[in-house]
Assembly symmetry: C2
Homo-oligomer: 111 residues x 2
DNA sequence: AAAAGTACTTGACATATGACAATATTTAGA
DNA sequence: TCTAAATATTGTCATATGTCAAGTACTTTT
């Protein structure tokens, strides 16, 4: 396999990894509508502040979000809105996979 | 946040997690063209057989691939080719992110 | 049909990475 | 400078990874 694509793959894996947590997906859901500061996420995702901050750092390291200080607050936003397309496509995959499985179960019940 | 979407998000996170490894991305690259058996992956991804087998199990558990025994061999294929669209979109994101960063470096060098 | 061989999977271990909660740091205002 | 609020970091525990060895399933050889 080409050396270049190996390195790209590692970056891809890093981004996928950043997306691979329910709490981080919730954080991104909150960022669909607008930018917001850390304290805005807390009631929305239902987690401790330190935990939210930690997960935001992971998203930031992967380049999915960027932030800006505004006085005491730090405001986060997505760097590239295409990330939502990716999440939406994966959701479709997950749902069609669930449907496939339930069809299978129905067929098995019939026999 | 709605209870239903919480559960969907956990499934999504599980699939993202399965994609979050360079070796598993390589395995999927090999599966772009056609189904293949475990021994076909080994020279392609450059890993031990047991390791490949472990990673295939993770992809299978996430519902990304399925397999079938054919004599001694076990043949794997993707369950839903849309997974490649997701990988391709993420690759675009990663590359445009790299470009953005290199632009930033250029600007900094100019000043 | 037993033995040997092939293709793959599973389990056990050491090490690396990730998650959560307590603690620390930074910042703004009195 | 002191206090309080917002956010980040650290320590501890759990989970993931890669390697080796053993196990399973099927095929071929004797």
């Amino acid at each position: 396999m080409a050396r270049q694509s190996e390195e790209i793959m590692e970056l891809e894996a890093e981004v996928f990894n950043a997306l691979a947590h329910p709490l981080r997906l919730k954080i991104l859901e909150r960022l669909r509508s607008s930018a917001c500061c850390v304290c805005n996420f807390i009631p929305y995702v239902g987690a401790e502040q330190s935990n939210v901050s930690h997960h935001l750092a992971i998203l930031k390291k992967a380049g999915i979000v960027r932030c800006e200080k505004k006085g005491l607050e730090v405001w986060y936003e997505v760097t590239d809105a295409n990330i939502f397309k990716i999440i939406d496509m994966l959701e479709e995959c997950v749902i069609s996979n669930l449907k496939r499985k339930s069809e299978l179960l129905k067929e098995m019940a019939r026999k």
